[in-house]
Symmetry: C2
Subunit: 299 residues, 2 copies
Amino acid sequence: MRNIDWIAVDWGTTRLRVWGLSKQGEILTHNSSDKGMNTLQSEEYEQVLIEHIEDWLDKDRTIAVLACGMLGSKQGWIETHYETAPCIGSKQLVQAPVSNQGFKVYICPGVKQLSPADIMRGEETQILGFLTDNPGYSGVICLPGTHCKWVQVTAGVIEYFQTYMTGELYALLSQHSILRHCVAKNGWHTSAFKKAVASAIDSPATIYGQLFSLRAESILNGLSAEVARARLSGYMIGLELCAAQQYWKDKEVMVIGEQQISIRYMEAFRSLKIKSEHFNSDELTIKGLTSIYHQILGQ
Amino acid sequence: MRNIDWIAVDWGTTRLRVWGLSKQGEILTHNSSDKGMNTLQSEEYEQVLIEHIEDWLDKDRTIAVLACGMLGSKQGWIETHYETAPCIGSKQLVQAPVSNQGFKVYICPGVKQLSPADIMRGEETQILGFLTDNPGYSGVICLPGTHCKWVQVTAGVIEYFQTYMTGELYALLSQHSILRHCVAKNGWHTSAFKKAVASAIDSPATIYGQLFSLRAESILNGLSAEVARARLSGYMIGLELCAAQQYWKDKEVMVIGEQQISIRYMEAFRSLKIKSEHFNSDELTIKGLTSIYHQILGQ
């Protein structure tokens, strides 16, 4: 595909997403799979990448591939550094070793915070994408997912942040614990969710004793699996919100994430009378990578 | 083995333990395996039981097998009822269907609590064993394990109780979450454990944000895997203790459990200046089943 100028890649723990883009960052084609970094050894990355982009390569040129996400972690393709917050994001890219002549791979660094210790890989690029449209922004960004990040951005700079394992905890409890027998995979109950959020914020310690109750109530009182699902989700998000109060209390929250999980957070915010606005994480990843492509690769 | 009068069985989620006993409850022989109820279908129980006790059977008699634990649950051999707290424990046994003439299997019911909903299967028999030596006991019993139970016993009766998923949460986080990369399987750090217990009791909400810090500190500051293990264990037990304060505050706690996990709880109690005493769960299970054998089977 001759009109593709460069390739953007978001290589996360469980998903690989690639986009063929014009110089201006328009999506001309895209591809994705579940070949996330948790399924790959370091030496497999090049071949897997080729499988996803080979139709876009030409013999007579070398195309730039700009990637962000967990592929830059210790367990990924090649370990890249972290820039230290407060910072804007990617300044120095790391090239991954490839034998194919058709492309060069540049990986964005992550962002670290020294005290309290914290790290991100991928979210910094989404934030950069957000800042492209909102230069000099000051405010709070919440990025829900497996490991939800709360980020204070001040004058266009990532000032400080904190990670919560909410998505992973929910997945472990609903799919791998004794609660898997009583929590539905689908279905929802809005008022059960809202009540659970409120009770977790109100009294986080007691929630620890409420988890097994989902199982007991299912057995003894016929608690429906959909209500159990909404309640468990509400407990987890509520515990996170209780712990992250300094970020959202009396503030407006920008939510960057996939639709399905972002909806839950925004539902929780509404019930707390917190204003929030949603941005699609894929779109902002592409915007962020486009900004880096222009600024660092100088094209 | 002609001198075996009856057989006691503790069939839990992950373990099967059988004991050949005299009429008075002396252990004459025993056997165990990892054929727990989570590995078995209902129709497999009889055969698995035979494999563990066949050397103890005679052609010319039918021996009584008295069992407690998760084999009586919905996912077990045959679903037995729950007695309702406040109660003493097993009054009515349920016979499991067997085709072998050499034995009859009697299963103890569990105990349920209607509000707040809670259930136990197996722990009630350990408590009965404790009460055999301490008739009319009033006080608090803590039974650590996959699902830790806190039980208020009054005048020899299970009055009320609550279940915490502490052991299962620790196993999920240390073996299946992102933290598996930074939490050791062995090794210990007493002061890290005690500090983690104290901070969880002091500020349970913030612990939710401390979990991912174990990973970040491991990557950025070289946090040792042994300290991470002790800290994660301390967070989990501390959260449980924070939620269960009504049970232990200004009380003496009887701890019934396996050695390894009970030691951690007693370490936490010592650091909180709570008096505690340990009782071996296997011994109390046998004592409890012996008491039922005499009272209900009338032998």
